[in-house]
């Protein structure tokens, strides 16, 4: 008995051992193998889909709450610095007592710029270029403000050396500080580009589709095999697993598609507009600074005049309808209303007309219509004999140019804010498109794996 028992148990042991070796050749062996492979494939699909969804969501998140806001900060550094310079030179041009609101605007700009630089310095850690740029700006900005203060103090006393200090300061801003701010802008712009690419890459979807299709093919093959080799036509758990996998693949693909569309929307109607308009605004500010320097120097600096002209062409083309604003308008036309940009363009054309007039006056040596009367005789001539350059009837000379420039800048800020709003809306939809998929896909994959294991276990059991 004992021997028989032990003999049988040895036989069973051998049979089991044999069955392990012969797994693929017997039906239960094959089913066990299929179960193993299917569960593995399901887990792989789940992992791939979850990973991709997470990556995409991270990309969208990065766009919405990382790269784009940082780019806005970097653009803000540039525009507040150049606004500070434009304001300082305009203030100088008014001569005599400085208007309080101009002084305040200059100070606000400097404060904003240094605040933004400080904020950015904690965010750009990985880029050595950006780090160097931030350090350079942090070092040079106090020197710049020192030069401006010296210019103001000299100017307040009527000392002509003030103009030399202003020129020195503005040259430093244009040649040394703003190019560093541009480095920051470029760093953040390429980061945003990367984030957009990560958020919209089609490679990711392809991997998910491939693993999904492979899994479905395996599931189908196993079910066909079962239908042929067992007496049951349908294995309900396996069918359920198939449905779950199809649902998961669909969910992920639709989620990807929606996210992709929303991100593209955010880019097209939002951040593209923000970038175009910001670049246009920066150029307009640069033109104002340079133009002011021409007036401060009263005719002596040909290079500044050329810089102002070139910057204005970048802003609005040769007629105030093209250039960066023209591009921004084309974007606006695709995505919504152009009325805001049209209004801005109209203001810009007024500014351009004024600018051309100032240039004409400048070359005619007539400053009275633009900034400051030179002599009573010159004013009379401007009105009478030559009839050039006197805009006294249109707006008050010292504030005329500044007023129109302010209006243009206000238009820029309004349009940039609107584009930023469009971006924020599309970007937040983009991140929410994959928000649930991120959790649902691994759960679905787990469910499918359990169903596969259970469904095949039912069949395997029948052979014991």
């Amino acid at each position: 008995m004992t021997t028989a028992t032990s003999a049988r148990s040895t036989a069973v042991g051998r049979a089991r051992l044999r069955s392990v070796w012969q797994w693929p050749t017997t039906t239960p062996g094959r089913l066990s193998a299929a179960s193993f492979v299917l569960v593995l494939a399901t887990v792989a699909f789940g992992a791939a889909a979850t990973g991709e969804a997470a990556a995409r969501r991270h990309g969208a998140d990065e766009v919405a709450s990382g790269a784009e806001p940082l780019l806005v900060e970097a653009t803000g550094v540039y525009s507040s610095l150049s606004d500070a310079d434009a304001t300082a030179t305009t203030t100088f041009l008014t001569g005599g007592l400085e208007p309080h609101d101009r002084t305040q605007r200059y100070l606000d700009d400097v404060r904003t710029a240094s605040g933004r630089v400080a904020a950015l310095s904690q965010e750009v850690g990985s880029s050595p270029h950006a780090r160097d740029a931030i350090q350079a700006i942090a070092e040079k900005l106090p020197i710049y403000t020192g030069l401006i203060e010296t210019a103001r103090a000299d100017n307040a006393q009527g000392f002509p050396v003030g103009a030399a200090y202003l020129r020195d300061a503005s040259t430093m801003m244009q040649d040394e500080i703003l190019p560093r701010a541009l480095v920051l802008y470029e760093t953040e712009a390429s980061r945003l580009d990367d984030a957009y690419r990560a958020g919209t890459s089609t490679g990711a979807s392809a991997i998910v589709v491939a693993t999904g299709l492979a899994l479905l093919a395996l599931l189908l093959a196993v079910q066909v095999y079962l239908a042929r080799h067992t007496h049951r036509l349908v294995n309900v758990p396996l069918l359920a697993a198939t449905v779950v996998v199809i649902a998961a693949v669909t969910w992920v693909l639709v989620g990807f598609g929606l996210e992709r569309r929303d991100l593209a929307d955010a880019q097209r109607s939002g951040s593209d507009s923000v970038q175009l308009l910001s670049a246009a605004r920066i150029n307009a500010l640069h033109a104002e600074s340079s133009g002011n320097l021409v007036l401060v120097a009263r005719g002596r600096d040909v290079a500044d005049q050329a810089a102002a002209d070139a910057a204005l062409v970048k802003v609005g083309g040769s007629d105030g309808r093209g250039g960066l604003l023209g591009e921004a308008r084309a974007v606006a036309e695709r995505t919504g209303s152009t009325s805001g940009i049209d209004a801005l363009m109209a203001d810009l054309r007024t500014y351009l007309t004024l600018h051309a007039q100032i240039k004409q006056d400048e070359s005619d040596g007539n400053f009275n219509g633009t900034t400051v009367p030179v002599t009573p005789g010159a004013v009379e001539r401007a009105v009478g004999d030559r009839a050039v350059g006197n805009r006294a009837g249109r707006c008050e000379p010292p504030d005329c140019q500044a007023a129109v420039a302010d209006q243009v800048d206000a238009g820029f800020q309004r349009e940039i804010a609107a584009a930023q709003g469009r971006f924020d809306r599309s970007a937040s939809t983009a991140t929410s498109a994959l928000a649930r998929a991120w959790l649902a896909v691994p759960l679905a994959a787990l469910l499918a794996a359990i169903l596969v294991a259970y469904g095949l276990q039912l069949r395997i059991k029948e052979y014991r």
Binding site: N155, V161, A164, R167, G299, R381
Partner: protein, 330 residues
């Protein structure tokens, strides 16, 4: 920007028969540029057809060839300019002049009062008065030192009055009026500087304006490093920022710097004498561009002023240390 005005094609210099007016005018005060000034100038200058004595106090400037020229003929009555450069200017209705805006005491634009002030400005008003009977019939163009000859060559301005030294070299190619002021090239250093002469500046940086005689003079001191700048006031910025150890320029200009920065001193050592003349024409274009008639006319006006004691009064007033060049009316 320097002008777009088309070049004037001036008729050939007419043979002028100017009977130089002698001025028995007592000129009281020289406030120009205001209504009071205008009346003063009218009273002071419109005395035609008298005989004028030859210049006395204006020194002969260039030791080699440049010297003050004698005035020919009579000074025409205002608003009745003879054919030539003068008539062209009168027809236009105003004088176009090239000046600096940053040289306190000589030619300075005060943004608060929105007017030009200085010795050169007053002299230009006097010339406008003599042509138009209106001291304010002037259009000012602000120019750089390096542009002074160009604006005359290109016919952009009639007269350049911008602290320009008459030198033999410049006299070869340009037409100057007689000198209206003689100053000297000096050095300006920080008050705490131990430097006492140009020799103390060997191996150091010295600022000077591009296109000036002062920067040319530095060629004689090869151990001194020149620091050229475009605008005169840039030199003061460079000195205040410690980029240079000294500025070299004409005494009058350095005095203007000292007005703006009392922590500086002008070294007594003189590098060169600097007789200032106004630029009215250029020689390469032949007699057409020389504007000898204008030069002669301006010389006449200067001689009148000199004879009346007015020129030295203006010089004394504008260059007196006690004068605040920002607000003074001389």
């Amino acid at each position: 920007m320097i002008g777009r005005r088309q070049r004037r094609r001036l008729p050939r210099l007419a043979a002028l028969a100017l009977t130089v007016a002698a001025f028995s005018v007592a000129v009281a005060g020289c406030a120009l540029g205001s209504d009071q000034a205008e009346r003063d100038v009218r009273q002071a200058l419109v005395i035609p057809e008298t005989t004028m004595a030859p210049p006395t106090t204006v020194p002969a400037p260039c030791p080699q060839t440049v010297s003050d020229v004698a005035i020919q003929g009579t000074l025409p009555v205002p608003k009745a300019m003879p054919p030539g450069t003068l008539q062209t200017i009168q027809t236009r209705g105003y004088l176009v002049v090239g000046v600096d805006q940053n040289s306190l005491r000589l030619s300075y634009y005060n943004p608060s009062t929105q007017s030009f002030r200085g010795l050169e400005i007053d002299l230009l008003h006097a010339i406008a008065m003599a042509i138009f009977d209106d001291p304010n019939a002037i259009e000012f163009k602000v120019i750089l030192s390096s542009q002074r000859e160009d604006v005359i060559n290109d016919g952009i301005v009639d007269i350049v009055a911008d602290a320009m030294t008459r030198t033999c070299d410049r006299d070869q190619r340009m037409v100057f009026t007689n000198a209206y002021l003689t100053t000297e090239q000096n050095l300006l250093v920080r008050k705490d500087s131990s430097v006492t002469s140009i020799d103390g500046l060997n191996g150091k940086h010295v600022c000077a304006t591009i296109g000036s005689t002062s920067i040319q003079k530095l060629d004689n001191y090869p151990a001194v490093h020149p620091f050229p700048v475009a605008a005169r006031t840039d030199c003061l910025v460079a000195l205040q920022q410690g980029k240079v150890d000294a500025i070299t320029s004409d005494n009058t200009i350095l005095q203007g710097f000292q007005d703006q920065d009392p922590n500086t001193k002008i070294l007594p050592a003189t590098l060169e004498r600097e007789p200032y003349g106004m630029l009215v024409g250029s020689k390469p274009h032949g007699s057409k561009g020389e504007h000898q008639d204008l030069a002669n006319f301006v010389n006449g006006v200067l001689a009148q002023l000199d004879h009346a004691g007015k020129l030295s009064a203006l010089q004394t007033c504008w260059l007196a240390p006690a004068t605040d060049p920002r607000t003074a009316t001389c």
